[in-house]
């Protein structure tokens, strides 16, 4: 006697967190049942494999029907088809949009295009995240990217509004969108040691200091794009590097200011601009912070340097990034 049709529908939609996890991880019904069996559910509940299969199928069907709504979480709140208590709705959305950092790190700065999606097989192999889950997460990134691409105002808040995500998750998505937009190359070997979290923090400080929204909240351009005018202005700062005179003066100003305050003073001169030497020379984060402070402040005393405000805006983000990157 085989069951052709087998459904269970509750007035309040039943959500099994474990099965949801398995579904999100991209397991098939059979795999999910196998995993649930391994979890010892059978013994605990004194039930049968058939019951477990039927239950898993029911949940999978529900999730498949819910997926369409999860693509636009505000609709999940408005829809009438499934009666789900608010805290359960929140859980569904959060779990659906949660991502593997390893995967996000791999995709950071890449164009969220079909081409990239085709490469997901490799990414899946490298990160150990199931391919179906990879695709779902990639689609999430892309969906969020598309939705906020053209929107004004703070990126993280927009994402929070449109996808009803908790603030921290929304900030992470903002970072992903920021990198995808500005295509920073994060795949370079020298940057391999940096985690997704590091980059996310960097993106946040860059957006906080450099974006248009940071200067004028009603700005026309989305926060994900760095304002062109700002990038233009940055060229002016090149003078600090290109002008040998200014460079030397800058250096000596910083050095004199820091004399006696930093334990590794001897190597100081060699350390301008680069982070790797600092690491190899075992600077303490405190030292670096102090150094950056003075490095930022010093040009004020440089004769003929007129871009102090711009410089400080530039350095605020750079300092934050460097400090974040400066870890073991």
């Amino acid at each position: 006697m085989s069951s052709d049709l087998d459904v269970f529908v509750g007035n309040t939609t039943l959500i099994d967190e474990e099965v949801y996890r398995l579904w999100l991880d991209g397991h098939s019904v059979a795999e999910a049942v196998a995993r649930r069996l391994r979890g010892g559910l059978l013994e605990r509940e004194a039930t049968s494999v058939a019951v477990l299969q039927s239950d898993t199928r029911d949940h999978y069907r529900t999730f498949q029907m819910l997926e369409r709504l999860l693509h636009a979480p505000p609709r999940l709140l408005q829809q009438l088809l499934f009666q789900i208590p608010p805290e359960r709705q929140a859980l569904l959305v959060q779990r659906y949009y949660a991502f593997d950092e390893a995967l996000a790190r791999e995709l950071l700065g890449k164009k969220l295009s079909k081409g990239t999606k085709k490469e997901l097989d490799e990414v899946s192999a490298r990160t150990g995240v199931g391919i179906r889950s990879c695709r779902r997460q990639f689609d999430n990134f892309k969906r969020v990217f598309k939705a906020v691409e053209e929107l004004r105002g703070p990126l993280a808040e927009n994402i929070q509004q449109l996808f009803l995500l908790p603030p921290s998750l929304a900030r992470d998505y903002a970072a992903i969108v920021f990198f995808a937009n500005s295509r920073f190359e994060t795949g370079k070997r020298r940057l391999q040691f940096l985690s997704f979290g590091d980059f996310a923090a960097c993106a946040q400080s860059m957006m906080a200091h450099w974006s248009q929204g940071a200067l004028a909240p009603e700005a026309a351009e989305p926060d994900g794009d760095l304002p062109k005018s700002f990038l233009q202005d940055l060229k002016e700062l090149k003078v600090l590097v290109t002008d040998k005179d200014l460079l030397d003066q800058h250096k000596s100003l910083v050095c004199s200011a820091l004399r006696g305050k930093i334990s590794v003073y001897n190597e100081l001169e060699a350390n301008f601009k680069v982070i790797e030497p600092c690491r190899s020379d075992k600077w303490s984060p405190g030292d670096l912070r102090l150094f950056l402070q003075h490095y930022t402040a010093a040009p004020r005393n440089l004769p003929g340097f007129r871009h102090q405000a711009l410089w400080e805006r530039y350095m605020a983000a750079i300092s934050a990034c460097l400090l974040r990157m400066f870890h073991d």
Partner: protein
């Protein structure tokens, strides 16, 4: 023009993309009622159109208002080709036709298409203005209230229970009309949906007319069903119990809207009343007001007496002063005369109610049932559905005579059903023969009656019943002895006492003196179709008992087929009965409640499924065990096997007794419950089968001379029967189940509920099926389904599955379809644990003290707890209190509304319970809050408090097959929900196969029910039932079709905890809090 219907189309949202090019939709709406259609403007290029239309006004007859549904069609405008339909919304405006239900229907409705399912939502506002036109109510019955609930609705009082009303209408099924060959499936489905909606409206109106004729104002226990007879047509039939109800919460009488269009009427009587004092000084009781409030509509009631007619004009005075319970002494004779004339019209003393006020049910005789096999032929003249009427009349007559044979003059818990396969139809009716006691209130507990009316408690029969049912009373026979019973027998056992003559029993039965009162005779087992009476004294807990059976039958045509079915029926009934009896004994119980036997006919087999809730009634003797006897006693191994089986059975009985806490008080003088079986089988079943030729076969169910409790194993079949007895696995720990409203023995419900529907279709794959293998398959199917439900709902433990309702269908040759609807309700574990602590000796004590307390129950409850127990939240005190009062209260807790004493004291008990619950909840919180404390959730919640335009949360609507919501008070009944949907697909695989298709459809049906309830301003559906779920598939064509019919009562409820805090504003408090307290599974 007695009415004006006004409709406003506000907006749409989440519409589907209808124009591929632009990814948008140019939507407009057609609003149709009767033959009038209005259209909104086209709202171009939007999936969220804002029509904000004017008020579309339909001026219509009230007859039309009752029959027609409001049809709203959403379309996509297309300049070059025909406009595409997006979907439809049917709105039943009936709830707007009585003054006390909803005043406006307003909200978001899912836009439904029979091919695509739900496609977006539409916001609609509907109002009705009724004009006061007293002269023309010939055809309409506006204002008669309908309730699916099979008890007196919670915020009403029954003034009179008039009795049985029935009606049926027939039509051709659009699916089988010639035109169906050329039109699209969508058009065909819509024609069908519309027709059934129209027929239900018509049926309801006709029933309403009958109710008005009986001078009632409501139908309780309304059950409407469809018979899809295929080629021969479509039958919509309904039964119910006509009542005169009186709303409890406000002082104005409940008057039909048509007679008293809302406000105007309430003023008019006062203004026109020439001399109100004349009547208020006299014995103007609510009864009179009720009885005559309809007089304007009925010419003959005017003739009755001039003073009566005038009384109708003074509704308020009656309620105010008459409520003190001055009996209408001088009016009694008059009333009786009128009742007699009413009774002459009453052909069938049937009641579709399953729950009654304590004492109303004097005796219960047993189950009466009748079945008849009919051959369907085309209904030639839809306007005169006489054949179908005659069929049912015949069956009802049979039921009536069965009841008489049991010494009973009434049938309660009455229901009717059909099973159709091709051109053969089995009509079934069943109920419980009973003697009702209208005098109880008058003679026995006059004071109780007084008290009750003073305290204005709900759901109690008042003076009215004394007149209404006088003539049922078997006065001729033994009125004197009955009077004796009334005085002597305590309420807890009276209904068990036999109504029939001991010396002239209708069937062989073993009688003993009642184990409770020792004064009257009781049978050894009792089967009923009603709910456990609230006053019944029960030992331990109850449980769901099912008998399942398959019988193969040869495929045959017409007459031959009907004959073979008729021949099989008696055997099936017999076996179902035997199974029930054995399973009951196996659980150590002695009574069945809520018994429902379903016989389903298929092409090559018949299936029988009986469900009931077993209990141990303290008044009935302890059941004996089950003994197995082998036929070949010489065989040693065989003997060994037998003894092994016997041991297994004995173990099971012992285990079940422990599981269900069945520890009856020991009675030293007469130990009848010896393990040695009694010599005869007693049957409470009287039934008959009649074939199309109307032959009636009576069956002796006494098993001849065989010993009922001895199972003889003479062949392998019998062996398997015994095995199958033992295969019923008890529910996992923490679960109980029953098919009645409440679970006997559990009373500390917590508010968490989960209503669900599960459907399974299984293929019987045997090549050469035998009855045995089929039985086993069917048994497994049911058991597995139950197991699956327990697993699904494991997070709710400890909980009870209530009102478990199985329906079996045989859609095709080898397919069996089972649909289950039930509700899981959590209960407080602490008390359950407490009960477990005292396993044996203590519970025996408890049971015996139980009895004592039952005897003096009203006194104890009223005086003792209120005076001697100082209120204190301390736990010990609470538990102390509950050990005094909790146990007797236990058995009535969920339905306390019926009892005046219980009710008055109840509020106090509930106060304790509530406090206790809050304490317990506090301690539980530590575990449940784990999940909520996750940082993500917290963040999200924080975020959600940030205002955002999209956060319009959908209001929660609870659904339950029960007539109540635990921990809540129903403050308003908004009207009946009766919905019929068809869903069809031609892309079955793409929609996830049969399971995906049906899963989505059931979810859609729930959603549409919830949306309608919410639009009426309600927050729950009670007495919800899925009456039909017809599923057909054609996998080869990638097609499937399903029809679902559901009904229930839309209500507004308020949490009891909030009632205490905010008593004056119930409706406003209801909705948001209903949401907050909802299930988290």
């Amino acid at each position: 023009m007695p009415g004006k219907l006004k409709v406003k189309i506000v907006a749409g949202r989440h519409l589907p993309v209808m124009d591929r090019a632009s990814d948008l939709t140019d939507a407009f709406v057609e609003v149709k009622f009767g033959n009038t259609t209005f259209k909104t403007d086209v709202y171009p290029k939007s999936l969220n159109p804002q029509w904000n239309s004017e008020w579309f006004k339909f001026e219509v007859d009230d007859e039309e208002l009752q029959d027609e549904p409001l049809q709203i069609t959403v379309l996509d405008h297309d300049t070059y080709s025909a406009n595409d339909a997006i979907g439809k919304v049917y709105i039943d405006i009936d709830p707007l036709l009585y003054s006390e239900a909803a005043t406006v229907i307003s909200g978001w409705f899912p836009i439904y298409d029979t091919i695509h399912g739900i496609r977006g939502e539409i916001n609609v506002v509907v109002k009705v203005d009724l004009f006061n036109d007293l002269n023309r109510f010939r055809q309409s019955s506006c204002g008669v209230k309908f309730f699916c609930t099979t008890s007196i609705p919670k915020c009403y009082r029954a003034v009179v229970i008039h009795g049985f009303v029935e009606e049926l209408v027939v039509n051709e099924d659009p699916e089988y009309q010639w035109i169906d060959r050329i039109r699209t499936p969508r058009a065909s489905n819509e024609a069908r949906q519309r027709l059934i909606s129209l027929m239900s409206g018509e049926l309801q109106r006709k029933i309403g007319l009958k109710v008005l004729e009986m001078r009632g104002n409501a139908v309780v226990g309304y059950l409407q069903c469809f018979d899809l007879e295929g080629e021969s047509g479509l039958v919509v039939r309904a039964i119910g119990t006509a009542c005169t109800l009186d709303k409890l919460s406000n002082t104005s009488a409940f008057l039909p809207a048509c007679n008293s269009p809302s406000k105007e009427m309430k003023e008019i009587p006062f203004n026109e009343d020439p001399n109100p004092n004349t009547y208020s000084s006299g014995p103007s009781t609510p009864l009179k007001n009720q009885t005559y409030s309809f007089s304007p509509s009925k010419s003959y009631s005017r003739q009755s007496s001039s003073s009566d007619t005038d009384l109708s004009l003074t509704p308020k005075t009656g309620m105010g002063s008459g409520s003190a319970g001055k009996e209408g002494g001088p009016f009694k004779t008059l009333l009786r005369q009128q009742t007699q004339s009413a009774l002459e019209q009453r052909e069938f003393p049937f009641f579709t109610l399953t729950t009654f006020p304590p004492g109303f049910l004097v005796h219960v005789g047993g189950v009466v049932s009748a079945r008849s096999v009919k051959l369907l032929d085309r209904i030639h003249n839809p306007d005169e559905p006489e054949t179908r009427d005659a069929w049912w009349a015949e069956i009802r007559q049979e039921i009536k005579s069965h009841a008489k044979a049991l010494g009973c003059h009434a049938v309660v818990g009455y229901s009717e059903s059909t099973s159709i396969c091709e051109e053969v139809c089995i009509l079934s009716a069943s109920g419980t023969a009973a003697v009702l006691n209208p005098r109880f209130l008058q003679d026995g507990t006059m004071e109780g009656c007084l008290e009750q009316r003073l305290s204005w408690q709900p759901g109690f029969f008042s003076i009215g019943s004394e007149k209404g049912e006088v003539d049922f009373f078997p006065q001729s026979q033994d009125s004197s002895s009955l009077l004796g019973i009334e005085e002597a027998s305590p309420p807890g056992c009276g209904f068990c006492h036999i109504p029939y003559d001991e010396l002239n029993m209708p069937f062989p039965a073993h009688l003993t003196y009642c184990y409770n009162c020792r004064k009257q005779k009781v049978p050894d087992v009792l089967f009923t179709t009603i709910d456990l009476p609230v006053e019944a004294i029960v030992v331990g807990k109850g449980c769901l008992i099912q008998a399942r059976l398959c019988r193969l039958k040869k495929k045959a045509q017409a007459e031959a087929n009907a004959t073979s079915i008729s021949n099989l029926l008696p055997f099936m009934e017999y076996e179902v009965h035997t199974q029930l009896m054995n399973k009951l004994k196996l659980r150590g119980m002695n009574a069945l409640f809520g018994l429902r036997i379903q016989i389903t006919v298929g092409e090559n087999m018949l299936m029988g499924l009986a469900s009931a809730t077993g209990v141990y009634l303290a008044a009935l003797p302890t059941p004996g065990g089950i003994q197995i006897a082998g036929k070949t006693p010489n065989d040693g191994t065989y003997e060994q096997h037998i003894s092994h089986m016997q041991k297994k059975i004995n173990d099971t009985i012992a285990k079940n007794k422990e599981l269900y806490e069945i520890n009856p008080p020991e009675l030293p003088e007469e130990i009848i419950g010896s393990p040695i079986p009694e010599p005869r089988q007693r049957s409470r079943l009287l039934r008959s089968q009649s074939e199309s030729s109307d032959e009636v076969t009576e069956l002796d169910l006494s098993h001849g001379k065989k010993d009922a409790f001895v199972l003889e194993i003479d062949d392998t079949d019998a062996m398997e029967d015994v095995h199958s007895l033992l295969t019923d696995v008890p529910p996992p720990s923490g679960f109980y189940s029953c098919n009645t409203e409440i679970m006997p023995g559990i009373n500390n419900w917590t508010p968490e509920i989960q209503m669900f529907t599960a459907v399974r279709v299984s293929r019987l794959s045997n090549i050469n099926p035998t009855n045995q293998t089929l039985n086993k398959n069917f048994n497994d199917l049911c058991e597995n389904l139950l197991k699956s439900l327990y697993f699904k709902l494991r997070s709710m433990v400890p909980c009870c599955l209530c009102h478990v309702n199985f329906t079996v269908a045989l859609p095709e040759d080898e397919l069996v379809q089972i649909a289950v609807t039930a509700v899981a309700i959590t209960y407080d574990k602490n008390q359950a644990l407490q009960a477990n602590k005292a396993p044996t000796e203590k519970s025996q004590q408890r049971a015996s003290t139980d009895n004592e307390e039952q005897l003096q129950f009203p006194l104890e409850l009223c005086s003792d707890p209120l005076s001697s127990q100082p209120f204190s939240p301390a736990k010990e005190v609470l538990e102390g209190a509950s050990s005094h009062t909790g146990i007797p209260a236990a058995q009535r807790a969920t339905s306390v509304d019926y009892s005046s004493f219980a009710d008055r004291c109840n509020s106090w008990i509930e106060l304790i319970k509530l406090k206790a619950q809050t304490i317990r909840r506090g301690s539980i919180k530590t575990t449940t809050s784990l999940e909520k404390a996750s940082p993500l959730a917290e963040g999200y919640l924080r975020h959600r408090s940030v205002p955002s335009g999209t956060n319009s949360t959908v209001s929660v609507v609870k659904m339950t097959p029960l007539s109540f919501l635990p921990g809540a008070k129903i403050t308003k009944y908004l009207g009946i929900i009766n919905m019929f949907f068809i869903r069809e697909t031609t892309s079955l695989r793409e929609e996830g196969g049969v399971s995906g298709f049906l899963h989505a459809f059931i979810a859609e049906v729930f959603a549409m029910v919830r949306a309608h309830v919410a639009a009426l301003g309600g927050n729950a559906v009670v007495s919800y039932i899925m009456k039909q779920c017809v599923f057909m598939e054609n996998p080869n064509k990638n097609q499937a079709q399903c029809l679902i019919n559901v009904s229930g009562d839309a209500v507004v409820f308020v949490r009891e905890s909030e009632l205490e805090v905010l008593p004056p504003q119930p409706a406003a408090a209801a909705q948001p809090t209903g949401a907050a307290g909802d299930v988290t599974t």
